[in-house]
Symmetry: C2
Subunit: 169 residues, 2 copies
DNA sequence: CTAATTTATTTTAAGCTTAAAATAATTGCT
DNA sequence: AGCAATTATTTTAAGCTTAAAATAAATTAG
């Protein structure tokens, strides 16, 4: 690549020019920018149009997919947030009447969380709007762009998981 | 595209099959998963190896690029966080000796934030490690993958900005 | 020059988030 | 059965985050 006046054999070069990873760093920062931008806008619209926070919306989205409800542990894994975080979030959504806690019939430690009827109705109204917002935010991407982005992010997800899991063992 | 047994003229179809945007939604959720996964791991390693939080690291990263320091407003725009958030973050980093506040010589409302010598040294040590982590997390992507991902995310960023700006006017 | 507006920052109140420690119930082992 | 380890959840302490209101200084308009 960069032929210089001073010749360097491969090994010397490896020592003096350890790989730099600025490209990967720029890629990561760009992913982060996209996420922050879109998430901030979604958060803002949820608050303005439905007076709901994103974490509450996310929790209800999980419950909407589970007609029989979920335990806090299930929610914790799916949402990738801590147990302690969920305790408070669930408390607030119970207080606002969107969800209910039921004692698990099989495990006295656990409680099962499910949407109330009105909670589900309200969620579905919001979710329909939300889907439009996302479509609008990604509106300039072609179908091909989206497919390719999906594929590359799938690869990224696996790569990250490998790096995270691999290091623990 | 999809010729069906039941013929529908274009208008009927538009009414009965309003566009669904599940694909865009799945794409958004995948971006979010990647970000959460990687960000969580970076956060964990920063805490374990350097006893520092990600917001503090991010703030120092901005300052490291600005040898003459930055005002809170500059930081707020660059980091895409609220002013009020920065007040507290800056206070804590001043308390730990990583940064200093200086009164702006030209504007009595503003203060200029800059890294201390030891803060800069500490940041650079962390930043070098951080760059390796990111390279490792993205390790399974080829150079071509990364270039393509960068391009598509660039397009996504512009698309989102257009959708956000366009709606305000 | 003065009043109105804008800009820079802080404060406040509320909620989100985490890690670590504590409780309590269940499961596995012998 | 009885003890150890695991699992489900809550509590605690600390910090992050935001929106909205407040304060104060600078800029603009007339």
């Amino acid at each position: 690549m960069d032929d210089q006046a001073i010749p360097l054999d491969a090994e010397t070069k490896a020592v003096e020019m350890p790989e730099d990873h600025r490209e990967e760093l720029r890629l990561w920062l760009r992913i982060l920018t996209c996420t922050t931008l879109i998430e901030g806008e979604v958060r803002r619209r949820l608050r303005e149009q439905f007076d709901v926070t994103l974490p509450r919306f996310d929790l209800m989205a999980q419950l909407d997919k589970a007609p029989d409800g979920m335990t806090l542990s299930d929610l914790s894994k799916r949402m990738m947030v801590s147990n302690g975080n969920l305790t408070g979030l669930v408390d607030r959504l119970v207080a606002s009447g969107h969800i209910v806690r039921t004692a698990s019939p099989t495990d006295r430690r656990a409680s099962v969380i499910s949407l109330t009827e009105s909670g589900r109705a309200e969620f579905r109204t919001m979710a329909a709007e939300h889907e439009h917002w996302i479509a609008e935010l990604f509106g300039d991407l072609t179908e091909k762009d989206r497919g390719e982005l999906m594929r590359l992010l799938g690869k990224t997800k696996l790569s990250a998981r490998r790096a995270i899991q691999g290091e623990g063992q």
